[in-house]
């Protein structure tokens, strides 16, 4: 309870606010609330998801103009107008997202700049929207017969909406879909390999951010009771982003802090700057611009993390509840051919990285792929797992051709992998990192996550992650930050993550690198046990003692091609292999 104390105090003050605050401050708080709703969307989009939009003000405008137009010109109920506004916003966001989210990260913000400008000019030039003068006479909002006439009455609606959005966003981030969202920033390739549809996840958060903005616009229109284009221009869109960044773009409460701070500061600067400069104008932008640059240079995390450090609220040690185990895949019988690579060739421009590669892996065997540095082993791995497809040749998994499938689709079919250069989310807990691996074993979506209706499934996913972590010997580190583990253990974490997906074929890229002797033995023991359960394992490894003691068969590569294949002891004696490893300059 103690850690909730600051929140409780905040909520009580917020509830009592309108009872004793003067009108001016109630109005200010109303605006802070409205801006926070938009900034919250940007926290999800920019701070968490690593995407960004300068065009949120235009989405606010869509919400405001939809209700402004429909309620005045057609006498529709504001509630129906809200639905229409949300529909239009969703449509625009989906089109824009579809167009830009597949391109590199900066096309979305550039697209939103153009779209922000276009819509602003459109609002100002369409006759039926009242041109630059706008629309007046927007009706009062009625709530179960209660008319929200004044700012004091509206206050509660705004803040209830905002706080429920905050709660929903928090819930969402603490869920299966939330982990996928948090993986977007810096872990997209890994997430795809774990079965996350990153394109859809990106579109989803862009959509959520747009819908939040639309709701804010709808509220704004009924609070002001008139709309004109000014508050929906590009500069206001930039200000929203500014609020999120200054407040702390990676934290839901950062949105409120940022919106509050900027709104108050703007009010103050607009009062005093014209007096200093002796002329009127939007001079506060000079300060906002400089302040934003300084925040990005000096405190990229924004104000919220700094505030949190002032009030030491430590999260209690969490536990993972026991839950029913997830259903498992039917394992192919030992000896079944899982993977077959035929005549695979991979070319990067003029460079041939793999050529003429043939190999197969059966259920219940460990196949090792070895060769000197730069021989093309990791490239082969990326081809097999669909991260970077082959140029030509054929790859079959469980009899099905997979060389044209994406890494996500291949993961779904039961292939798990680890990466040569560890790919995990360093600030997320070990447990959550591993739970990403189990992404495909859950199905509950964004909506049930926001309402926390998926707790049963979530418990099963986390219990599975915990079980795999205990299995690989990381049971003591469930709640540590993944980035704080030594590199060797991070590699082991990746194995647990791959196992959470319940694969029948495991691709391990240098799993033993960085491990100490005893840890290596434990790892070898684990892999033997997995083999005993019928798992097929394809292994790239440099530690020859480890490989030779574990592998059933070995393929040796050099210059992108297979130079030898056979039992470990055969390969060890092959003069071609000796030459490849030790160099032939005599």
């Amino acid at each position: 309870m103690k850690q909730r104390l600051p929140l409780m105090v905040f909520l009580v003050l917020l509830a009592l606010g309108p009872l004793f605050l003067p009108e001016f401050y109630v109005t200010l708080l109303n605006y802070i609330g409205l801006y926070s709703i938009v900034a919250l969307g940007l926290v999800l989009l920019t701070g968490v998801g690593g995407l960004t939009s300068f065009g949120q003000a235009a989405f606010v405008g869509l919400g405001a103009y939809a209700t402004g137009y429909l309620t005045t010109a057609h006498g529709l109920s504001p509630w129906i107008a809200l639905l229409v506004g949300l529909g239009v916003t969703a449509g625009v966001a989906l089109v824009l997202g579809f167009l830009t989210l597949r391109l590199s990260g900066h096309y979305l913000p550039l697209g939103t700049i153009a779209w922000g400008i276009s819509l602003y000019f459109l609002f100002g030039n369409l006759e039926f929207l009242g041109g630059h003068t706008g629309l007046t006479g927007i009706p009062v909002l009625e709530f179960f017969g209660l008319k929200l006439n004044t700012g004091r009455e509206f206050y509660y609606l705004i803040w209830v909406v905002l706080l429920s959005f905050v709660l929903a966003t928090q819930n969402l981030l603490d869920s299966r879909e939330g982990r996928a969202i948090r993986a977007l920033k810096g872990g997209g390739l890994m997430a795809e390999s774990m079965g996350v549809n990153t394109a859809r996840t990106k579109t989803t958060i862009f959509l959520i951010a747009a819908l939040f903005a639309c709701v804010s616009g709808w509220l704004y229109a009924h609070l002001q009771r008139f709309v004109n284009p000014t508050p929906f221009g590009l500069h206001i869109g930039i200000e929203y982003l500014f609020m999120a960044v200054v407040g702390g773009a990676a934290h839901v409460w950062g949105a409120l802090v940022g919106a509050g701070l900027i709104t108050i500061l703007k009010q103050w600067l607009q009062d005093i700057l014209p007096k200093i400069f002796g002329q009127s104008g939007n001079f506060e932008v000079i300060f906002f611009g400089i302040m934003l640059i300084l925040v990005l240079q000096r405190a990229r995390e924004g104000i919220w993390p700094w505030l949190v450090r002032l009030v030491p609220v430590r999260q209690g040690r969490r536990t993972v509840a026991e839950a029913e185990a997830l259903p498992r895949r039917e394992m192919p019988a030992a000896g079944t051919v899982l993977l077959e690579v035929k005549e695979a060739r991979k070319q990067f421009g003029g460079l041939v990285a793999n050529d003429n590669m043939n190999l197969s892996v059966k259920a219940g065997e460990v196949m090792a792929l070895i060769g000197p540095n730069g021989a093309g082993k990791s490239t082969m791995f990326n081809c097999i797992s669909g991260v970077d497809p082959v140029t030509s040749g054929e790859i079959r998994f469980l009899g099905e051709r997979i060389d044209t499938l994406t890494s996500r689709e291949i993961a779904r079919r039961g292939m798990g992998r680890t990466f040569q250069h560890v790919r995990l989310l360093p600030t997320m807990s070990v447990l959550e990192n591993v739970a990403i691996g189990a992404h495909l074993r859950g199905s509950k979506g964004v909506l049930s996550a926001s309402l926390h209706l998926e707790r049963a499934e979530e418990a099963r996913l986390l219990a599975e992650a915990k079980r795999q972590l205990e299995r690989v010997g990381l049971g003591a580190h469930l709640f540590d930050e993944a980035g704080s583990l030594p590199l060797g253990q991070q590699r082991v974490l990746e194995i647990a993550r791959a196992l959470s997906a319940d694969p029948c074929l495991l691709l391990l890229d240098e799993p033993a690198a960085g491990l100490r002797y005893l840890e290596k033995q434990a790892l070898a023991e684990l892999l033997r046990r997995l083999r005993g359960e019928g798992m097929g394992i394809l292994l790239v490894e440099h530690d020859m003692d480890f490989v030779m003691g574990l592998a059933d068969r070995v393929v040796v590569m050099e210059f992108g091609e297979k130079i030898s294949e056979g039992l470990p002891e055969e390969v060890q004696k092959d003069p071609v292999v000796l030459e490849a490893y030790l160099g032939g300059v005599e």
């Binding site: 003029g350 000197p372 540095n373 030594p486 440099h542 030790l582 160099g583």
Partner: protein, 245 residues
């Protein structure tokens, strides 16, 4: 090893985030000598070169030509005569071979040294193949030619210390032999060479002195002849089965 070293590293440590990748490494390169650093994959060889060159933040002391480097800047080191041929070559793929070479002399040109034409003729003398390909884009060269261009480009700076990161990586044995002959020949021009290699036999053959790096620390060091015969090298480096890189 009595003369003053051109490069003297004391107590060098490098960390990636919370993980330390290089622990308290001490290493010396004498002027005009070839020193090699060998060791298994992931031992921290490339990391060490990155730290010396100022590409990675590090702790410890790096002394180059009697000057202790504080707050090292790559550009400054290049101007002082240190160059690195990185593992990935890092050529300018969409520019011609000639332009790539020319840019190798950038720092000298900036400081008023305008004999890049003469230096380029010398480089073409060392690598006749590059002369044939002078107008070709670097991105269209074969693996061996790329390595030659990378070394040639580094030589355009007229370095006092040339650092090579795995020059044999991904090259066919014949080309490796050619490259190693050239490296051995370079020594005659007086340049000191720090050679990081996985190809232990070849490296120890042309080097004067060697270090064995294992999991971020120097495990062994000594005259390269002695090192090549040292059973501990075979054990720690080449593996018990006699075939570990």
């Amino acid at each position: 090893m009595m003369t003053t070293p051109i490069l003297d590293i004391r107590d060098l440590c490098v960390s990636y985030g919370k993980v330390e990748a290089l622990h308290h490494v001490n290493l010396k390169v004498e002027a005009g000598k070839i020193v090699t650093v060998i060791g298994p994959n992931g031992a921290g060889k490339t990391t060490m070169l990155g730290a010396i060159m100022g590409l990675l933040p590090s702790k410890g002391e790096i002394q180059f030509q009697d000057e202790v480097q504080r707050d090292i800047e790559v550009e400054h080191l290049v101007a002082m005569g240190m160059t690195l041929v990185p593992e990935k070559r890092e050529l300018f793929g969409e520019m011609s071979v000639e332009d790539n070479l020319l840019l190798g002399a950038f720092q000298r040109y900036r400081h008023g040294d305008r004999d890049e034409g003469k230096t380029m003729a010398q480089v073409f003398g060392t690598f006749p193949r590059l002369k044939e390909r002078r107008a070709q884009l670097a991105g269209t060269l074969s693996g061996g030619e790329r390595q030659m261009l990378a070394v040639g480009r580094a030589l355009m700076a007229k370095p006092k210390l040339l650092m090579l990161d795995e020059p044999s990586l991904g090259l066919a044995p014949l080309i490796v032999r050619e490259i190693f002959h050239i490296i051995a020949d370079l020594k005659k021009t007086g340049v000191a060479i720090l050679l990081v290699e996985q190809n232990a036999r070849a490296a120890l053959q042309i080097a004067d002195y060697g270090y064995v790096l294992e999991t971020g620390s120097v495990a062994l060091e000594g005259e390269s002849r002695a090192l090549a015969d040292d059973p501990r090298v075979v054990e720690t480096y080449l593996g018990l089965g006699g075939k570990k890189e």
